[in-house]
């Protein structure tokens, strides 16, 4: 059984088969946001039909949300999965990227209207590298003083950092304009037949983000397979031992932080380009927690796992919106004269919470873990003390 599975592993297939499989997968992903394509994704069961697309939310938009969450989990995976640093405030870097783009590209940005630093809004494409650079800088600035802290102390510091960014963003009279936000954020360039390519339709953004993800995956994969990646793993496994072996742990941890932050910022710039409107409500702590769940649900320390996790944490709740219709479940229930809303739409995060618990109980290593880590965890399982 396991031998067969081994033989069927993609990495063990002959090269041409592997490449054509990969190409097929890519074609599938690029076709996915098209209605004529996804409408037929589903499970026919007798005369019933379970659609796999999100019937209550635009599939292309959901996919786009998936992509920027995936980018975030790729970034956080470097920090948590590879370097083993618990970061509870990763969304802070996303906020930095998003706000930089919003401030530079919106005609209603206070940089133009109040401070007169800019004469006219900058194009999105120019703002993106600045956003990434400033996120990276934020990562270094946060990491420099705090990376000496260990474990859970680092966790609370990162959480505090994200909250501080949110509180600053919340101030109406400050540059970020609080809850009122910054409208008319710039979009990526390009037009088709006179119409701008990037406007309200989420599809082109999804395709763009997909390309960015592919690029990011290649970059991160090469990094992980290099000396840097090995240093990270050494730090994760045993920081003291790594230090003794001559690994400059602080520098590599800072590296992980900075790279993670840059990828997080990149995600923010992409999102702002599509969102059209940026305000402080998006940057709540719940989102940081969601991204962390994505990484760990997928399988920390594995790029594919981070991608899967990032996809699922968005897709599952969004898909759950429609499951009431699919299965013909009642929306409300009346108990003792009181009506309670039990529609999957309103309970979807409760259901998602149960999914998280169940997955972690049966696959503590995540759904698609790093093979080596999975093996370690499999063996740990046998070492549970008697009767525990």
């Amino acid at each position: 059984m396991s031998a067969l599975r081994e033989r069927l592993r993609i990495s063990n297939l002959p090269k041409p088969a592997r490449y054509s499989l990969g190409a097929l997968g890519l074609v599938f992903l690029f076709l996915l946001p098209n209605k004529w394509f996804y409408e037929y994704l589903g499970i026919p069961l007798g005369f019933a039909y379970i659609p796999l697309y999100t019937t209550k939310n635009d599939m292309a938009s959901v996919l786009f949300i998936c992509t920027w969450i995936i980018l975030l989990s790729l970034g956080l995976n470097v920090v948590v999965g590879y370097a083993g640093l618990l970061d509870l405030g990763f969304f802070g870097f996303f906020a930095v990227g998003a706000y930089v783009v919003a401030l530079l590209t919106s005609p209603e940005s206070k940089l133009l209207t109040e401070y007169n630093w800019l004469e006219s809004p900058w194009p999105w494409l120019v703002a993106v590298p600045i956003g990434i650079a400033l996120s990276l800088l934020a990562g270094v600035l946060l990491g420099w003083p705090t990376l000496r802290l260990r474990g859970d102390y680092l966790a609370i510091v990162t959480l505090g950092f994200a909250e501080m960014i949110r509180i600053v963003a919340k101030q109406q009279d400050w540059i970020l304009n609080g809850d009122r936000g910054i409208p008319e954020v710039g979009h990526p360039p390009g037009s088709v037949g006179g119409e701008p390519l990037f406007s309200f339709d989420a599809k082109p953004y999804y395709w763009l983000a997909l390309c960015v993800i592919i690029l990011a995956v290649f970059l991160i994969r090469n990094l992980v397979r290099s000396r840097v990646g090995r240093a990270w793993v050494a730090i994760r496994e045993d920081e003291d031992a790594a230090e003794l072996m001559g690994v400059p742990t602080f520098r590599f941890k800072l590296w992980a932080f900075a790279i993670g932050a840059a990828v997080g910022g990149l995600s923010g710039t992409l999102w702002a380009g599509q969102a059209n409107f940026v305000n402080s409500t998006t940057f709540s702590l719940e989102n940081s927690i969601l991204v962390l769940s994505a990484v760990l649900l997928g399988g920390a320390g594995n790029i594919a796992g981070a991608i899967l996790g990032g996809f699922l944490v968005i897709y599952i709740p969004e898909w759950l919106r429609s499951v009431g219709d699919v299965f013909g479940l009642p929306e409300t229930v009346t108990v003792g004269g009181s009506t309670y809303d039990i529609s999957p739409t309103s309970l979807r995060f409760a259901i998602f919470g149960i999914v998280l618990i169940v997955v972690m109980i049966f696959r503590p290593q995540g759904l698609w873990p790093n093979r080596r880590r999975a093996a370690e965890i499999q063996h740990r399982k046998k070492e549970v003390a008697v009767g525990e």
């Binding site: 000496r148 102390y153 505090g160 950092f161 995060f349 149960i354 998280l356 972690m360 740990r380």
Partner: protein, 316 residues
């Protein structure tokens, strides 16, 4: 910066800060107890607290008290508070134990990596909060007026209300009681033993599972008591009341040195004061900002919190 504001209202800021700090401290104990024994941030503890606030409200409902009823006589009020403490503490403890049994114990049996616990904790938190949100239609609920608002006495020109006195007194009693329990009783010794060295504790005949369950129950009891006084103090509750307070209490636990009971008490008190002073100095909108700056600054100088880590390892 508004130093005048701070100086003018210093006594009252201190009194209200101590009251808030007492509630933080009680909730922080739950984080610290579990962390001390399991090295685990019990993210769902905030919802244990939230359930407690509703349990208290329910109890007062049984007394026929709601936010519109006249203030009851002092005897009835104290009885109602006492009943609410019992009900809320027991309910919270039961929820805490339920979380341990459903979300953590199965993972321990599989020797799962620490971060897996964090995810089930987040999952449990989602479940509790969303279910409570659905059941309560996500609306706020008013708490009956119980204790008279006439001040009991003055501190530096600031009137101290019965609510503040009761909150602080009960919190101190709970803290002292818990400290005594952990330091002096057989079960408390078991907790400390597991916290300090789980393997050796097993060699002494300590049942680790039972100790862990006990720790969750104790944390739940504290959170339940905190919930009662938070109800009385803020005058209302809502399905998401735990989130922010849990975050603060967790910060307080870290501030004092997570895993350290007295540290949690100290951290809670400090955080309550810092917040109040900060809202006078910089405006309430910067309150949490300043609290986090203070926390981070402190961790720079004392990387394991004010009193250092670990249950009972800090030498008294």
């Amino acid at each position: 910066m508004n130093i005048g504001e701070l100086l003018r209202s210093f006594p009252e800021l201190t009194v209200t800060g101590v009251t808030q700090g007492a509630i933080y401290a009680l909730v922080a104990l739950g984080y610290t107890l579990v962390y001390g024994v399991l090295r685990l941030i019990n993210f769902a503890h905030s919802e244990v607290f939230m359930v407690g606030t509703f349990a208290a409200l329910f109890t007062w409902g049984l007394f026929g008290l709601d936010s519109n009823t006249e203030r009851p006589s002092i005897g009835v009020a104290l009885l109602a508070i006492l009943a609410a403490i019992v009900v809320a503490a027991v309910t919270s403890a039961a929820v805490a134990l339920l979380i341990e049994v459903t979300a953590y114990r199965p993972l321990r049996h599989r020797n799962a990596p620490p971060l897996a616990f964090l995810i089930t904790a987040i999952g449990a938190s989602f479940v509790l909060m969303e279910v409570a949100g659905s059941l309560t239609v996500r609306r706020p609920f008013g708490v009956p007026a119980l204790l008279p608002s006439k001040p009991l006495f003055d501190i530096g020109g600031w009137a101290v209300t019965p609510t503040q006195v009761t909150t602080v007194v009960v919190a101190i009693a709970m803290l002292v009681g818990l400290d005594y329990f952990v330091q002096k009783t057989r079960a408390g010794r078991g907790i400390r033993a597991v916290a300090q060295d789980p393997n050796t504790a097993a060699l002494m005949g300590v049942n680790k599972s039972r100790v862990i369950a006990l720790v969750f129950i104790l944390g739940g009891l504290m959170a339940g008591v905190a919930a009662v006084f938070n109800d009385i103090k803020t005058g209302s509750t809502k399905f998401n009341v735990g989130f922010l307070l849990g975050l603060k209490a967790f910060s307080a636990a870290v501030l004092g040195g997570i895993g350290n009971l007295r540290g949690a008490a100290l951290g809670g008190l400090l955080l309550g004061l810092i917040e109040n002073y900060a809202s006078a100095l910089f405006g309430s909108n910067w309150r949490d900002f300043v609290a986090f700056v203070a926390l981070i600054a402190l961790l720079m100088f004392r990387p394991t919190g004010l009193l250092g880590e670990s249950l009972g390892r800090a030498r008294a």
